[in-house]
Assembly symmetry: C2
Homo-oligomer: 149 residues x 2
DNA sequence: GATAGATAATCTGTCGGACAGACGATCTTG
DNA sequence: CAAGATCGTCTGTCCGACAGATTATCTATC
């Protein structure tokens, strides 16, 4: 079919198409995790150093609070995470990975590296690193005026 | 909150976070189009030079056939596209933009440029172009073995 | 210490979107 | 003409997401 050049000028299209390919590749891999890709994102965010409370985690991942609840339900019943009461604030539940969760996460992460390699195959190593850095800048910059929502 | 470095190494996270910001910015802008962002994508794909049939268009955009149907229903009732029978195959409906559709698309596209500028603001002009090209490569490369499905 | 207001997490109800499957129309093949 | 395949549409159903209320807890003020 080839790609008409008029869409190639739209970075949004390229962004979505790339994400679609990424999802397509990773969905198969993450399907056995509770919550699928979302579950993986939660595990990633729940690592030490990440946001501790469910709310912070939800905002960080762009999810609704209620979604986070039943997402964690599934992950917890699978033994991958634990909800521990925050000693400083008993309203807050700290989401922590279990050993099993850490193991699962590491395993998935290894496989994701391979998938990423597949996705980025058309690029040269230098370009991959460049892309990674550029996306990182866009993803981590907190735009002023928007706040936390 | 800051971004823990462990996720920064995951290009998938950066990709999703960037898309989320993009969606957040564009949703407001494209809300008045039938089908919202999807509708815009359809308009983009329906331009001359793009895939002609509904099925091809759906596959091109990663949508289900049935979704394409009611998406086009809305766009057509809004006067932005027309379904014309393919003279060579009367099963096929060629999706074509009306003049109004072209106008609307151009207008939206102009505004999208501004939104993109906002999104890409943290990058320098050179970097924006680099990112655009890199994403374009990833989006347009047809991975072998996957086919159109 | 007690009360009021705010916040974190959960539960409930509801709504819309997406897909599977069936159907009619049409092309292809024999 | 008959049979099978394909394109688009329609129907039914199911899952996911959000709004709102609820419970437990923190903070502020008196």
């Amino acid at each position: 079919m080839t790609t008409p050049e008029h869409v190639a000028t739209d970075i949004g299209w390229a962004l979505f198409a790339t994400v679609r390919r990424y999802r397509h590749l990773t969905d198969e891999l993450l399907a056995d995790l509770p919550g699928g890709p979302r579950g993986y994102q939660v595990l990633m965010g729940a690592q030490q150093g990440g946001p501790s409370s469910q709310l912070a985690l939800a905002q960080y991942l762009g999810l609704d609070r209620t979604v986070m609840t039943y997402l964690l339900d599934d992950l917890e019943s699978a033994g991958l995470v634990e909800r521990r009461p925050d000693p400083a604030d008993r309203r807050v539940r700290r989401v922590e990975l279990t050993e099993q969760g850490v193991t699962a996460l590491c395993a998935k992460r290894q496989r994701l590296k391979c998938v990423e390699a597949t996705l980025l195959a058309p690029l040269e190593p230098e370009q991959r690193e460049t892309l990674r850095k550029l996306l990182e800048v866009l993803a981590t910059c907190d735009e002023p005026g928007s706040g936390a929502g």
